[in-house]
């Protein structure tokens, strides 16, 4: 009896310790951003920084000794906003109509294929899209461009639009699928055609889910870094023409943080703060929408607005064709990108390229063996640290903390915000803090810790979501039988939430593999030889692809690397789907039969 009590207290303490560590990590990022940007803001002036049009870190004429520099991000602010809007227009419109198509117009036979393909595509690393941008899109657009170069706001919007497309489709589709059949049947019963019922009754009813998917996509487009640097041109200009070279806030950070002086670094962190403000605004927007959902009043307004648009363009007449067209276009675009990589990738793949080591001396012959190892090392360490910490924190927040506690609410909000913060902000934190810890040198350890910080909020959030799906009836049932908290958590709550947690872990792995910005200045951007431990430098696969693609000389290596990346990410996605299915079946199925076999 006393032993159970000790167990209870010990477990609670352990969960609390994990929560405290996570909270410290979360707070550290905010503190870092404020402390590091404060001197820059103070010296430059908050409004001058935000609304200044000149970004000249070295002054107007560095040779004449004018090194004071000027720091204003207005041009990049405009560039970020416009490219995000452009991406939303392209990816959002295509995505929503494709989702309508899959959910309501698609022949049953190919629906399943569409679903799987969309889910798989959502995991493709953004550098792959950037690579496609450089090699296919830019030459194509350059053909129409007055200055012969295809880079600029148009190319960026297209690349970002394609990047967010699968996310929009998959989330919008889920919310359209979730509309009760009664809405559709009700409309049909009143004499509406299939199209009318879909566009006047079903889609407006799914409105808040669709808007939420667009907001999530907006956040991703806003925060994307590496793919953007590959196609934007990166000169500090207002994007005054479709083909004018311009720069986004995220690109600004990654382009200059490698060689920035003190004030300039401060200004870059300040750029990160501006990005954070964007995320805050997006979060507020989401809160407003979901808050409205509950009250119901404002929901009608937006839904009314949506259906008004649908009425105006007489969608119920042409809707079927619009959805078909969008779905075909989106499908062809995505499949041809993947196809392009697969075809070219396979033909440049060799045993030596994938598994061989290479030495820095022999710089003409690159291999990605070292990158694969480095990627695995980063995935292993970041998952091993972030998953136990994150899951334990989520358990503490969801099972132990007081429901209405203000403190927990603040933590939840901070976690929410952090899970939307662009990876480049973590890159800044990692490059400044961890490099400092490890004596100014880059290492796989520093890169892993950086990405761990980024994963923590994601793991906490998705675990909490899975825990919330476990009905309170089960917890009560367990308590009523005299079980304590620990037993209830480990025997009832966690097993029920496990499928959700596992798929979250696999998706987190996918995130690590897809990311590139956080690694560049923490563990190495040029292709590195085989790492001999966590203290050596290393290049992840995504960074290697970025390097090969943006240098222009290693086309074949880029194809092969992109192919390997896609195979790994798709493999992970399939694994997640399969494991989810198995676990769900096991949960509902013959748990004891399995145990009995093991026992005998």
């Amino acid at each position: 009896m006393d032993r159970t009590k000790v167990k209870e207290i010990m477990s609670k303490a352990l969960f609390a310790i994990a929560a405290v560590i996570c909270i410290i990590a979360v707070v550290a990022i905010f503190v870092f951003l404020i402390l590091e940007s404060f001197p820059a803001f103070k010296q430059i002036g908050f409004f001058k920084f935000l609304f200044g049009a000149n970004w000249k870190p070295n002054g107007d004429d560095a040779f004449a000794g004018d090194v004071s520099g000027s720091y204003g991000v207005l041009k990049m602010l405009v560039g970020t906003l416009l490219s995000t809007v452009g991406a939303l227009i392209i990816g959002g419109v295509l995505g929503v109509f494709t989702a309508v198509f899959i959910s309501r117009f698609c022949p049953k036979r190919i629906k399943g294929i569409f679903n799987t393909v969309v889910n798989l595509l959502a995991g493709i690393p953004s550098v792959v899209y950037g690579f496609f941008g450089i090699y296919v899109l830019l030459p194509m657009l350059g053909f129409f461009s007055p200055n012969g170069s295809g880079s600029g706001i148009l190319a960026t919007s297209i690349v970002l639009g394609i990047m967010i497309l699968p996310t929009v489709v998959s989330l919008s589709k889920t919310s359209i699928d979730a509309v009760p059949q009664g809405y559709y049947e009700g409309a049909r019963a009143l004499g509406a055609t299939h199209e009318q019922a879909v566009y006047r009754a079903v889609v407006p009813a799914a409105k808040s889910g669709i808007v939420a998917s667009l907001i999530l996509a907006l956040g991703r487009a806003l925060g994307e870094t590496m793919a953007v640097t590959m196609v934007a041109g990166n000169a500090v200009n207002y994007p005054t023409g479709l083909f004018k070279s311009f720069r986004t806030l995220t690109a600004n950070i990654v382009l200059e943080m490698g060689y920035a002086g003190e004030l300039q670094m401060g200004a870059l962190v300040a750029t990160g703060v501006v990005l954070l403000l964007f995320v805050l605004a997006v979060n507020l927007l989401t809160g407003l929408i979901t808050g409205r959902k509950k009250s119901g009043g404002g929901r009608k307004k937006t839904a009314g607005f949506l259906s008004k648009i649908f009425y105006k363009v007489k969608l119920e007449k042409i809707g079927r064709y619009v959805s078909w067209a969008c779905a075909i276009f989106a499908g062809v675009a995505l499949v041809s990108i993947v196809g392009w990589i697969v075809v070219n990738g396979v033909s440049h793949l060799s045993w030596d390229f994938v598994f061989g080591n290479y030495s820095v001396v022999d710089y003409k012959r690159y291999t990605i063996g070292p990158s694969i190892i480095a990627t695995l090392m980063v995935v292993a360490l970041s998952i091993v640290v972030s998953v136990p910490l994150g899951v334990a924190t989520a358990i503490y927040l969801n099972e132990y903390s007081k429901k209405g506690s203000e403190f927990v609410k603040i933590i939840r909000t901070a976690v929410d915000i952090l899970s939307g913060v662009p990876s480049i902000v973590y890159a800044l934190f990692g490059a400044i803090t961890f490099k400092m810890w490890f004596g100014g040198t880059i290492s796989i350890l520093a890169g892993s810790l950086t990405i761990t910080l980024m994963l923590l909020p994601i793991v906490i959030r998705s675990t909490e979501e899975s825990l919330k799906t476990v009905s309170d009836g089960l917890r009560e049932g367990s308590f009523a039988l005299g079980a304590g908290k620990v037993r209830t958590i480990f025997k009832i709550v966690l097993p029920s939430a496990l499928p959700g947690i596992i798929s979250a872990v696999i998706l987190a792995m996918g995130r690590v593999i897809s990311e590139s910005a956080p690694f560049i200045y923490t563990m190495g951007s040029s292709i590195q030889p085989m790492p001999d431990g966590y203290m050596s430098s290393g290049t992840t696969l995504a960074v290697a692809l970025y390097r090969f693609a943006s240098e222009g000389k290693y086309m074949n290596e880029a194809y092969a690397t992109a192919f390997v990346l896609i195979v790994i990410v798709l493999g992970l996605n399939l694994l997640a789907e399969w494991l989810g299915k198995i676990l769900n079946r096991k949960l509902k199925g013959e748990t004891n039969a399995v145990r009995k076999k093991r026992n005998s």
């Binding site: 009560e476 039988l481 004891n592």
Partner: protein, 252 residues
């Protein structure tokens, strides 16, 4: 340790934050009888029931005063709460089988209290299912998931699960309100059997059910215990005008 089977409550008050959900409740629930709690929605029946196994401890901001005794034990005194819940089982309105096999569902309680031997567990599972009159139905599907059972079977499984830890008292909160008439009938028969060994306290919205199964009936209204007595007396000659109005269906 064994608690008694009779419940004595004196001057009980309960607050959810500032809201008073129970007002000066005094009641003696006899052993080996079925006691029904009736009253309109929100009058505090579930709240009172949950005081008896301290499930209210899980509710934030819930304060209880007064004396609750089971046998001679003051259950709000220095006791082991898990031990209390072992003595006072509970069945909920919505069947809540755990997502595991039938066997594991029933073995969950005994395992909680340290029973590990397979043979003993097998025996407990068999007797509990027999007590719940389910053994013949389920003996061939012990290893199948409990989630595959029908609603009525799930609820009887939950009763068997509660019986597996050998409680002295069984609390039931509207256990049949989500079930069809046949399943309801089975559970009512079951209670008739069970009360030979244990005390049953049941919340019900169905007055016919109270008349059919309960020896004693307590009528709650707005957090007060308005009237309590033999079921026959309550339904044939209620002393309080409010009781009469309620049982003749004029409010609630």
């Amino acid at each position: 340790m064994r608690y008694g089977k009779n419940v004595t409550v004196e001057n009980a008050e309960l607050f959810y934050g500032d809201f008073q959900a129970l007002k000066n409740i005094n009641i003696e629930i006899p052993e080996n009888k079925v006691t029904a709690l009736i009253g309109p929605s929100g009058c505090g029946k579930s709240t009172f029931l949950k005081c008896l196994n301290r499930m209210n401890d899980l509710v934030e901001g819930c304060k209880v005063t007064g004396s609750f005794k089971i046998g001679d034990v003051d259950i709000y005194g220095k006791i082991d709460i898990n031990e209390l819940r072992k003595n006072v089982g509970m069945v909920f309105q919505k069947p809540n089988p755990f997502p595991m096999s039938v066997y594991d569902n029933i073995a969950y309680g005994p395992r909680t209290f340290g029973v590990r031997k397979r043979a003993i567990l097998d025996e407990i599972v068999e007797t509990s299912l027999k007590e719940a009159a389910m053994w013949d139905e389920l003996k061939d599907r012990l290893n199948k998931s409990a989630l595959g059972l029908s609603g009525g079977q799930q609820q009887r499984l939950c009763i068997a699960r509660a019986l597996a830890v050998k409680p002295q008292i069984l609390l039931m909160d509207e256990p049949t309100s989500a079930l069809d008439p046949i399943s309801t009938g089975k559970i009512e028969e079951l209670m008739e059997e069970l009360k030979k060994d244990i005390t049953i306290v049941i919340v019900t919205h169905n007055m016919q059910q109270a008349v059919r199964i309960a020896d004693k009936t307590a009528f709650f209204l707005l957090g007060e215990l308005v009237e309590y007595g033999d079921t026959d007396d309550i339904f044939t000659s209620p002393k309080d005008a409010r009781t009469e109005r309620y049982i003749t269906g004029r409010f609630g």
